[in-house]
Point group: C2
C-alpha cells in the first residue's frame, strides 16, 4: 500500500494544515478558546453580520462565533423585531448594528461590519449577496450558492465589480477528515479514483417549510444533494463532463413542487464515476470511494460534528473541530490578508453548473453533457 501506516495521524494533520495546538484544543473544547487566545498577541478581529436568523444562524453560527479568533459577531439583519431583541440581549449587539430588510443597504455606512454572511432561503442568496457587495462588504453566502449557475455568475461579477471577496459557506473543506479524503483522492494516494458513492439526506416533514417550495430554491438536490456532489468533486479534484439523474417522491402530498429523493450519476474526464443520491425522505450520511489500489470512506461525512472514517490502511485519527468557527476564522483571515479563499464563489458556481445539468437530466430523462 502506498500510504505509510501513520500518515493519517493527528500530528500529520496539524503539520499539513498548519493548525496550531491551541486551535485544535479550542476545536475540541471551544470554551477554552478565549483563554488560549489571551496568551498570544491579540489579532484584529473582523466584524460579521448575519443576514437571516433562522435555525442555522441561531443554533449554529451564533454559537460558533463565540469561538472564533479572527472574526466576531457584530451585526444582524432580520425582519423579526423579537429576534433582534433576543440577539441583542444574548450577544450584546449594539442597536446601530441591527438592520431589517428595508434598512439593510445602510450597512454600507457601518464600519464595524466587514463581512456579511447571507443565511437566507436559497432564492434570496443572489439578491443579498449582490446588495452586500454593493454596500462594499465582503460576503459569505450559504450553500447552495443560488438558484442556478446564471445567478452565481451575477454574484461573482457583482463582488468583482465592488472589489470585495466572495466565499461560500461550505464547511467540509475545513474539516480534517474531509481534507484527508480530498488528499487521498486528489493526490491519488491509492491510485486514481474509480468511483465515489455518497448519500446525504434527512427526513423532512415540515409541509410549510421553504425547503419544500420550488420558488424558494427548495428540494433535496438543492439542500443536501450539494454535499454528495461536492464529495465527488473534491475527492476526484475534477469537474464532471456528463450527468444522468432520476428524481422520485414517495410522499406526493408533501412534495408537490420539489424532489424528495434524487439519484444522480457523474462522469469525470479521467474515467472516474460517481453514483450519488440525496433525500428529504431518509436519514443518510455516507461516502465511500473506490480507488485503483484501495478505498476510503467517511460515515458520517457531512454532519456538523462527529465525522469519522477509514481507508484501506486503517481508521483515521483526526480531531473533531467546530467546523463553522474554523470556516469563518479562515475566511476572515483570507479577507484580512487578501489571500485566496479556500472556497471562492467560483466553487459554488461549479456546483450549480452541475445542479443545473442534473435538473435538465431529470426533466429530459436523458444524459446531459456539461461544458
Amino acid at each position: 500500500m502506498p500510504l505509510p501506516p501513520h500518515s493519517s495521524s493527528r500530528r500529520d494533520f496539524m503539520k499539513r494544515f498548519a493548525v496550531g495546538a491551541g486551535a485544535v484544543a479550542a476545536m475540541k473544547a471551544p470554551a477554552v478558546l478565549a483563554r488560549v487566545g489571551e496568551r498570544v498577541p491579540p489579532r484584529q478581529k473582523l466584524g460579521i453580520a448575519l443576514v437571516g436568523l433562522g435555525y442555522y444562524s441561531t443554533q449554529i453560527l451564533g454559537p460558533a462565533l463565540q469561538h472564533t479568533q479572527d472574526v466576531e459577531l457584530r451585526g444582524i439583519v432580520t425582519g423579526t423585531p423579537a429576534k433582534a431583541e433576543r440577539w441583542k440581549a444574548q450577544y450584546g449587539i449594539p442597536e446601530a448594528n441591527i438592520y431589517n430588510y428595508e434598512t439593510f443597504d445602510r450597512i454600507a455606512d457601518n464600519e464595524a461590519i466587514d463581512i456579511i454572511y447571507v443565511v437566507l432561503p436559497n432564492s434570496m442568496h443572489a439578491e443579498y449577496t449582490i446588495r452586500a457587495a454593493e454596500a462594499g462588504k465582503h460576503v459569505i453566502c450559504e450553500k447552495p450558492m443560488a438558484l442556478n449557475a446564471e445567478e452565481c455568475r451575477q454574484m461573482i461579477q457583482a463582488c468583482r465589480d465592488a472589489g470585495v471577496q466572495l466565499t461560500i459557506g461550505y464547511r467540509m473543506q475545513f474539516e480534517p477528515h474531509t481534507q484527508e479524503v480530498m488528499r487521498l483522492g486528489q493526490e491519488q494516494v491509492f491510485g486514481p479514483v474509480r468511483m465515489v458513492q455518497a448519500g446525504a439526506g434527512y427526513r423532512e416533514g415540515r409541509a410549510d417549510h421553504w425547503k419544500l417550495k420550488k420558488a424558494m430554491g427548495g428540494g433535496a438536490m438543492m439542500d443536501m444533494g450539494v454535499y454528495s456532489l461536492q464529495a465527488a468533486r473534491y475527492i476526484t479534484g475534477e469537474e464532471p463532463i456528463a450527468v444522468t439523474a432520476q428524481a422520485h417522491t414517495t410522499r406526493p402530498e408533501l412534495f408537490t413542487e420539489v424532489d424528495e429523493t434524487t439519484m444522480f450519476q457523474l462522469e469525470f474526464p479521467s474515467g472516474a464515476l460517481a453514483t450519488l443520491y440525496t433525500s428529504f425522505g431518509m436519514g443518510v450520511n455516507d461516502m465511500y470511494t473506490t480507488a485503483a489500489d484501495g478505498w476510503f470512506y467517511l460515515r458520517p461525512f457531512s454532519s456538523y460534528s462527529g465525522i469519522q472514517g477509514a481507508s484501506s490502511n486503517g481508521p483515521f485519527d483526526f480531531p473533531q473541530i467546530n467546523q463553522q468557527a474554523v470556516q469563518m476564522d479562515e475566511q476572515a483571515r483570507s479577507i484580512r490578508d487578501g489571500t485566496p479563499m479556500r472556497v471562492p464563489g467560483e466553487e459554488g458556481l461549479r456546483d450549480m453548473i452541475v445542479v443545473d445539468a442534473i435538473y435538465q437530466a431529470i426533466e429530459s430523462g436523458e444524459r446531459v453533457e456539461i461544458g
Copy 2:
C-alpha cells in the same frame, strides 16, 4: 430501536436457520466435518457431477465438496483429457463417471449421478441445463442463470417437463450475515427500506477470457452485477418496477464488446430505491442499506468468505461458513426430500428479467419499466 441488542447473536442464527452445532463447527473448521458426521447416523449422500472444470470448479467447488454431508463429488464433464486425469487422481472419480461434451448425454444412464452442476461459461448454461434435465438429472446452474430471461424460461420449462429440480448457484442466500440483512430488510426491522446501495466488482484484465466476450455472456453486469442486483432484491423482498442504467468503459481496447462498469438504479413498488453498480475495472464489494429507522451494511458482501457487517444496533456476530458446501448440501437435501429450493430457477429468471431491462436502458438511454 426495534431490534433487541442480542438478536444478532450466533445462537439466534442457529435457531432461526436450523443450523446444527455440528454444521457450524464444520463451517468454521471444515476438516473436522467428517469426524462430526461419524457421530450421527449416516445419511444417504447424493452424487453430483460438475460440468466445466474452470477456476470455480477447480479452486472452489471441488474442495467444497470434500466438506459436504448430503452430496458428494462423483462425476465430471470436461473437454480436456488432462483435467479429467487430474480430477480422477485427486478425487478418486471412477472412469465410468467421467464424461466429455460428446458423451455428456449418456450420463442419463448413470445412477451414481443425481445432480448436475453447470459451471460453464454463461452462454452454455441454457443448453447444458436443458440437456441435463433431459438426462433426468436435477440441476444446479451457476449464476447468472443464462443470457436472458427467455433462456431462463426455457430452462425452467425443460426441468418441469423432466420432473427434475432446478436451482441456481447463488451462495449469498445461504450465508448467515446475508440472511440477517435479508431479515432486517424484508421484516422491516428498521422500518421500510428506503435505499440499497451496492457495488460489486474486481479488476479484470484477461483480454482472452470469455468474460470479455459478448456472445459468451460476458460483461461486468452479467458476472458481478448480479450480486448488486440480488442485494437490492433480497433486502427489499420486492421486484423492481423500473430501471435506469449507464455503461462506461475506461479501457476501450480491452472492453470492445462488453461493459467494464455499469451503474444501475432500481425503483421498487414500495417506493424503495436502489443505486447499484458493478465493474470489471475496480475492486469493490460493498452494500449499505438505509431504512426508515436505521441502517445496515455488509463489507465485503459478496466474497467467498469473510463477510462482515453491522446495523445501527451494532456489529453482526455470525459464523463464517463454507458457503459453497452449505449451499450444495441444502440444495441436495431439497432434492432428496422434495422440498422447495431456497433459490429455484424462478429466482434466476427474476434477476435476468431485470438484467434484460438494464441492457435495454443502457441501449436506449431511457428509463425502462418492467412487467
